[in-house]
Amino acid sequence: MTNTFIALAVPALLLLSAIFILLFGFSSYYSKNRGYYITLVTLFITFCISVNGVGDIHSAEVFPHIFNAMVVYDTFSATFISLFLLGGFLSLAIAKSFIDKTNFFVPESFVLFLFSLFGMVVLTMANELLTAFIALEIASMAVYVLVGLNRESLKASEAFFKYLLLGSFSASFYLLGMMLIYAQVKSTNLNVIAEYILNNDLNSQLLIVAGSMLIMITIMFKIAAVPFGAWVLDVYEGASLPITAYMAAVFKISVFAFIIRMFLTNNDFVQLVFDPLIILGAVITMIGGSLLAVIQSSVKKMLAASSVVHSGYMMIALASIEDIDSSASSAIIFYLFSYFISAIGAFGVLSYISKGTDKLISFDDLNGLGKNSPIIAVSLTIFMLSLAGFPSTIGFIGKFYIFTSAIESGYTPLALFGAITAFISIYYYFKVIVHLYFKESTDVKVQYGYKVSLAFIMISAFIVLWGGVGTSLIFNIPGINALNELSKYAIQSLVF
C-alpha cells in the first residue's frame, strides 16, 4: 500500500461512508443499529489502512501539482490519523449502550461524526494555513452540531450556542492572524513561511509574530487553555457523554497535532516569543483547571475541568520543545496518547453507567458501584489512576516524559509546578475511587447488557495498564518502547 494511496483512501472512505449513511438514512432499510455498525466498520477499516503508514519515517506531499503542496502525508500525520480513528472507533464502540438507549442519534449524527473525523484527518495533513482552517472548521462545525444533538435538552442547546458562538469568535482570530502572515509572507504555505522566517530578521517578521499570536489564541481556545477555555465546562456538561468523550479525547489531539506541526516547522520565533507565554499559559491553565476540578460535585464536570489541567501539561511539553531532537516533541505525542486513551475510557465508563440520560453523573451516583459492578468499577479506577499519573499506568509514563522533557529544557520549576498540580489532581481523581468503593450504595445496579461497550472499556483499561508497564520482553507485544519509537518516528518525519 503506497503512502499516497493511504493518504487518499482514508479521507475518501470516511467521506464516502458519510455520504452513504446520509443517503441511506432516508431509506426505510435504515435503522440506528445499521448506521452505527456502518460507521464502526468504516472506522475500523480506515484505521487498519492508516496504521500501515505508521512505523517508518516517510514524508511526501500528496499530489503536489494538483493540490499545490497543501497537504503532506508523513509519519507524523499517519500516526495522528491512526490515533483519531482509533479514538473515534473506541469512543463510538464504548458509546454503544448509550446510543441504544437514547433517541437523538439520528442518521445525521453518524454522518457528522464521520465528517468531523474527516476534518481532523485533513487538518493533520494540512500544510497550509487556510486548508488547515477549513479542515478545522469542518471538524468543529460537525462537533458543534453533535454537541447540540439532543434537541430535547435545554442544556445541549445552550452548549451548542456557547460553543458555536465562541468557536466562531475564536475562528475569526485565526483568519485575522492568517491575513497578517499572508500580508508579510505573501503565502500561507507552512514551508514557505518557515523559509521566510529563516531568511529574514525579526524586523521583517513583525506581522508573522502578531499573526502567530492570533492563531495561537484560536488553538488555545480549542484546547481550552485558561483564559480562553471558559467554555469547556459548560459545553462538556451540556453535550451528551459520548460526544464529550470524543471532544475531550480526540478533538483536542487533532488541534495539538496541528500546533506541533506549526511549532516544529516554524521553530525560531516560537522559542523567542512564545515560550514565556506558553509557560505562563500552562501555569494559569493548570491552576485554573485544578481549582475548578476540586469543587465539582459531578464527575463529568470534574473530568471536564481536569481536561483543562491536562491541556496545561501538554503546554508544558509545548514550551519544552526546542527542536526536533528534543524529547519534548515525542513526549507530547506519548502524553496525547496516554491522555486520549484514559479520557476515552473514563468518559466511556460514565456514558456506560449513565443509561442514556443527560443527567449529570454526580460522585454520589457512583456509590456502591465497586460492589455491584466490579469490572466497571475497576476499569474506572484504572482510568482515574492513569489520569492522576499513578505509576504502572500509561498516564504516569506520559507525565514522566512531560516532566523529563521540561527539566531537560531547563524548566525544572515548571515541572515542579506540574507535579504539584498532579498532586492536587490526586484529590479529585481519588475521590471517584472513594465513592466507587467506600460509600454505601443505594443499590443501583448496572446491567451488563451491552457486551460490546463493556469489552471495549476493558480493552482500553488493559491498554492503559500495558502502556504503563508493558515491555516487549514479556509476550513479545510491543510495550512502552514501541510507543516511544512510534512517536519518535512521527516527529522525525517532520524534517524528513
Partner: protein, 626 residues
C-alpha cells in the same frame, strides 16, 4: 573445663527452672504446687551450692573461673563476648546472693503457699536469680548492663505482682522508670567509655588497663554517670522514691530484691569500677556525700513511718547510704562487707515482717499490730536479733561492718561525713526499736489469724545465725582478726591511718550512744500508745514532700507538655494548617468558579482580555528586542 561448665550451670540452672515453671504454668496442665516448688528449689539450690563451691575455691585456691559462651556482637572493633568470669569480687557476691536467694526461695514456698499465682511467682523469682548472676558474673559492662536491666525488669514484674490492685502496678512502673533514669546514666557512661577506649576491648580488664588513656574531665563524667546508674538501682537520693513504693510486692520479693540483692547492685558496680573511682576522686567524694545524705534522710523519714515494710525500706536506703559513704572515701571492701552483713540481717528483718504479715492476715500497719509478742514468740526473738544487729550492738555482725565504716569516715579527712553517719546510726536505732517496742512491747490488741508456716521459719533461723556470726568473716585486727575478706577481695582500697586506741574509743562511744537511744525509745514507746498520738502531718511524716515535688516538677509538666505537643502543635498548628490549606484551595476554587458564571459574553470577554494581555506582552517584547 569442668569449671566452665560449673559456671554455666550456675547461670543456667535458675533460667532453666524458670522456663520449665513458665511452660508448666502457661500450659495450665499442671497445677500441682509441689512440682513448682521442686523445680524452683532445685534451680536455686543447685546454683547456691555451686556458688558456695566457687567462692570456697576462689578464697582458698585463688582460682579464677572463666566461661566463654558466645560472641554477642562483633562489629569492627566493637566486640562483646558473653563471658562469665568469677573473680574474687564476683565470687564474694555469689557467696551471699546465691544462698540468700535459696533461703528466700524456701521462705517463699511458705509465704506464697496456696497462692493462685504460685507458678508465676517462681518463674519471676528464678528469672531474677538468673539476671542477678548475669550481673555479677558478666565480664564486660554491656552484659552486666543486660543483667542490671533484667533485675530491674523482674523487680517491676514482682512489685506489680498482685495486679488486681492497679496501684501495685503503678508502684512497679515507678520502680522501673526511676531505675531506668539511672540506667540512662549507666548506659551513657558505658558508651562514653567505649568511645574513649572501646577499641582495645571492652572486658573489665581491658577497660582498667586502658583507663589512663582517658583525660580527667571525661573520666569524671563517666564516673559520675556510672554512679547515676548506681543511684537508681541502690535507691539513693534523689532516685530513692521507688523503693518505699516497691514494698507493694510480696514480702519475699522485698526481702530478696529490695533488701538483699538487687539494690546492692549499685554498690557492686561502684566497687567493680574501683580503679576508675580511685582516679576520679572528686566524684568519689560526691558519692560519699550522696550516700551520707541518703542515709540521714532515710533514717529521719523512717522514724515517722507506720508500715513495717516501709520502715524497713527506708532503713535499707539508709544502710545503702552507709555503704556509699564507705565507697566514696575509697573503702571498697568495707562497703562490701557491710553489704554482706546487711544482706543477712535485712533479709531476716523482712522475712520476720513477712511472717508477721502472713500471721496477721496481711496487716502491715504497726499501729494495728501492737503487742504481738506472745502470739509469735519465735518471730519476736528473730526480729529482735535482727534489730539489734542493724543497730550495731556488739558483737553482732553489723557492729563490725558499720563500725568499720564509721572508723574509716573518722579517719578520713571528712569529719562531717562521720557525724552524718553517726547521726544516721542513732536514728537507725531509734526507728528500729520504735518498731520493735510498738510491735512487741505493748498491750496485745491483735490476734493472729494463722500460725506461721514452718518453711518460713527455717530460713529465718539460718539468717538469724548468719547475721549474728557473719561479722567474723572480716574481723578487724583489734579483735584478733585479719580482715580476711578485704584481703581476699584485694580491691584498690585506700588505707587510712587509724590507731587502735581511737578505734576502741569510737566503738565505745558509739555503743554507749546506741544504748542511750535504745533506752529513750523504750521509754517512749514500750507499753505506751505514743505511736497513736504522733502527728501524721509535717515535713518528716510526708517524707519531706519529695514525692509531691516530683509530681509537681516532673510528672505534671510532662503531661502538660504532652498536651501541648499533641494538641497544640501537632493538631492545632500543623494539622490544622495543612487541612486549612486544602480547605482554602477549595474556597479559592469556589471563588474562581465565580468567573464561570455561565454567561457566554463573559467568556468572550475573558478571551478578549487574554488577547489584549498577550498583545501587550508582545509589544513590550518586540520593543525590547528591536
Amino acid at each position: 573445663m569442668t569449671n566452665n561448665i560449673l559456671l554455666n550451670i550456675l547461670l543456667l540452672a535458675p533460667l532453666t527452672s524458670a522456663l520449665l515453671i513458665f511452660l508448666l504454668n502457661i500450659s495450665r496442665r499442671y497445677t500441682k504446687q509441689t512440682l513448682y516448688t521442686l523445680l524452683a528449689l532445685s534451680g536455686s539450690g543447685l546454683s547456691a551450692m555451686i556458688a558456695l563451691y566457687i567462692s570456697y575455691t576462689s578464697y582458698f585456691e585463688q582460682k579464677l573461673f572463666v566461661s566463654n559462651l558466645f560472641t554477642w556482637l562483633n562489629i569492627g572493633d566493637f566486640t562483646i563476648e558473653v563471658t562469665l568470669k568469677a573473680d574474687a569480687l564476683s565470687s564474694f557476691m555469689l557467696l551471699f546472693v546465691a544462698p540468700v536467694s535459696f533461703l528466700i526461695h524456701i521462705y517463699a514456698t511458705g509465704y506464697m503457699d496456696k497462692d493462685k499465682s504460685y507458678g508465676r511467682f517462681f518463674t519471676y523469682f528464678n528469672l531474677f536469680i538468673f539476671f542477678m548472676f548475669l550481673l555479677v558474673l558478666a565480664d564486660n559492662p554491656i552484659i552486666m548492663f543486660v543483667g542490671w536491666e533484667g533485675v530491674g525488669l523482674i523487680s517491676y514484674l514482682l512489685i506489680g505482682f498482685y495486679f488486681d490492685d492497679i496501684q501495685n502496678t503503678y508502684a512497679g512502673n515507678k520502680a522501673f522508670i526511676v531505675n531506668r533514669v539511672g540506667d540512662f546514666g549507666f548506659l551513657s557512661a558505658l558508651m562514653l567509655l567505649f568511645v574513649e577506649i572501646g577499641h582495645g576491648g571492652f572486658s573489665y580488664d581491658a577497660i582498667f588497663f586502658n583507663l589512663s588513656l582517658i583525660d580527667t574531665p571525661m573520666l569524671s563524667l563517666i564516673a559520675l554517670l556510672l554512679f547515676v546508674g548506681a543511684m537508681g538501682k541502690s535507691a539513693q537520693l534523689p532516685l530513692f522514691v521507688w523503693l518505699p513504693d516497691a514494698m507493694a510486692g510480696p514480702t519475699p520479693v522485698s526481702a530478696l530484691i529490695h533488701a538483699a540483692t538487687m539494690v546492692t547492685a549499685g554498690i557492686y558496680m561502684v566497687a567493680r569500677f574501683a580503679p576508675l573511682y580511685n582516679i576520679a576522686s572528686d566524684v568519689s567524694l560526691f558519692i560519699a556525700y550522696i550516700g551520707g545524705l541518703s542515709a540521714l534522710f532515710a533514717a529521719i523519714v523512717a522514724t515517722r513511718q507506720y508500715d513495717i515494710k516501709k520502715i524497713l525500706a527506708y532503713s535499707t536506703i539508709s544502710q545503702l547510704g552507709f555503704m556509699f559513704m564507705a565507697l566514696g572515701v575509697g573503702a571498697y571492701s568495707t562497703a562490701l562487707f557491710h553489704m554482706f552483713t546487711h544482706a543477712f540481717f535485712k533479709g531476716l528483718l523482712f522475712m520476720g515482717a513477712g511472717a508477721i504479715i502472713v500471721a496477721f492476715g496481711h496487716k502491715q500497719d504497726i499501729r494495728e499490730l501492737r503487742g504481738i509478742r506472745r502470739s509469735v514468740p519465735t518471730i519476736f526473738i528473730m526480729m529482735l536479733i535482727g534489730s539489734l544487729t542493724i543497730s550495731a550492738i556488739p558483737p553482732l555482725s553489723a557492729f563490725f561492718s558499720k563500725d568499720a565504716i564509721m572508723g574509716i569516715l573518722y579517719a578520713s579527712d571528712h569529719l562531717d561525713l562521720f557525724f552524718i553517719a553517726l547521726l544516721s546510726s542513732l536514728f537507725t536505732v531509734f526507728y528500729m526499736f520504735r518498731m520493735i517496742f510498738v510491735l512487741f512491747f505493748s498491750e496485745n490488741t491483735t490476734e493472729p489469724s494463722k500460725n506461721s508456716v514452718k518453711s518460713m521459719n527455717y530460713p529465718m533461723a539460718i539468717l538469724t545465725l548468719l547475721s549474728v556470726f557473719a561479722g567474723m568473716l572480716n574481723l578487724p585486727e583489734i579483735f584478733g582478726g585479719n580482715l580476711m575478706m578485704s584481703s581476699w577481695l584485694d580491691l584498690a582500697d585506700k588505707h587510712f591511718v587509724f590507731s587502735h586506741a581511737n578505734e576502741i574509743f569510737l566503738m565505745s562511744v558509739n555503743t554507749i550512744l546506741i544504748c542511750f537511744i535504745l533506752y529513750y525509745a523504750y521509754k517512749r514507746y514500750a507499753y505506751k500508745d505514743t505511736i497513736l498520738k504522733e502527728s501524721t502531718t509535717g515535713l518528716v511524716a510526708n517524707k519531706f514532700y519529695i514525692d509531691a515535688l516530683y509530681q509537681l516538677i516532673i510528672v505534671k509538666p510532662l503531661y502538660a507538655l504532652s498536651f501541648f505537643f499533641d494538641r497544640k502543635i501537632s493538631h492545632d498548628l500543623i494539622d490544622t494548617s495543612i487541612n486549612s490549606m486544602a480547605l482554602n484551595y477549595k474556597k479559592l476554587g469556589k471563588l474562581f468558579a465565580f468567573f464561570e458564571n455561565g454567561n457566554v459574553r463573559f467568556y468572550a470577554l475573558y478571551m478578549l482580555i487574554g488577547l489584549v494581555l498577550g498583545f501587550i506582552y508582545l509589544f513590550l517584547l518586540l520593543k525590547a528586542m528591536l
